[in-house]
Symmetry: C2
Subunit: 210 residues, 2 copies
């Protein structure tokens, strides 16, 4: 039985993609059942937390048996790809952008970069199967391709300008790699990935914990 309409705690939501990949890997390696204790081992998360997390979606497991790996994989695929139609654009095809495009090609993932933009005319065309347009066409293409989320990988000083141009599109989410805090309309959710921040956090932990 699968629950509906339960509000999932944010902390749980953050772990879902982690679970998903873990289950995908198990599946690839041919494992067909898994217990919360094994997941715990693999992901370093307390087994009770894992059972609780999974239980938000109903009884996914069987008592005395554990969880069926393939079932989990298809369940999570459902869950995370729920918003089927929505696709993603990359803005900025520099080293980082190119790395992201390559990352992208992995497997059967549905959460994929669909189109990209840059200002450099050498970049326009196709990179690894992804169409790259000039930034001039940003609004036009975002709308025609029904893009709902963008990845920002442009130099810091241009990031805010680009964000300002997203206001009249359907974009509702930004994954920002540029090392600046962005001001976005409040309908748009911004997530940040900042190498410097991550590095500093790691170093701080190294000296202060464990």
């Amino acid at each position: 039985m699968v629950k509906k309409n339960t509000v999932i705690p944010k902390a749980t939501a953050k772990r879902l993609p982690l679970y998903y990949r873990f289950f995908q890997n198990l599946s690839l390696s041919g494992k067909e059942r898994v217990s919360s204790a094994e997941i715990s081992e693999g992901l370093n998360i307390d087994s009770a937390t894992i059972r609780r997390d999974l239980s938000y979606f109903g009884a996914l497991g069987k008592k005395g048996y554990g969880y069926n790996v393939n079932y989990l994989v298809s369940f999570f695929a459902q869950l995370l790809h729920k918003n089927e139609g929505s696709s993603i654009a990359l803005i900025g095809v520099g080293n980082l952008g190119t790395a992201l495009i390559n990352y992208n090609l992995r497997k059967d993932e549905k959460t994929k970069i669909k189109i990209a933009f840059d200002v450099d005319s050498n970049k326009i065309g196709k990179i690894n199967d992804i169409d790259v347009y000039h930034l001039d066409q940003l609004e036009e293409k975002l709308i025609s391709e029904k893009i709902e989320a963008v990845i920002m990988a442009v130099p810091a000083q241009f990031a805010q300008d680009v964000v300002d141009r997203l206001a009249n599109t359907n974009v509702r989410g930004i994954l920002n790699f540029s090392p600046v805090r962005l001001t976005a309309p409040k309908e748009i959710r911004v997530h940040y990935i900042d190498l410097t921040v991550e590095l500093q956090a790691l170093m701080y932990y190294l000296t202060n914990y464990k």
Copy 2:
């Protein structure tokens, strides 16, 4: 007065680098005082949380005035660069690695990539002022350069092999960009940055919250 020996909650620790950069930016833009309400506005964190976070380090602010920006900047520099000697190596100089090296050059950051490694002989030498060595020299150089943390940006299938080779070095932290879960000796702390995970999380939030 600055407190000592307080244990800082993990949630606070994660925000420290965010604060730091925010204060640096304020300082650059010439602002000399700031209130928790303004920080709250800029970072989207409740102002009480901010006051609480800062208060773990003692009374950094003045009642009725707020916080002195330059003082904050130098305090945080201290705090986050405490482990002065320690430096960072990059393993894997592909697109992502190169992007990270470029990122690196920003400003006066002390948390910097010092050396890098790759297997491709075309990469060996110098890239943007960073010495790039062949992976064969990994252990030797990590030790001689006293590296305590590494950034992994190698293809997924090689990541674990590299980690296994870190056992006999001084490395205590890994920032892993390769989309695999790593098994590391328990003295080594591993932080993960995984584009797929971040993207899925963003998409999940978009469809399920707010």
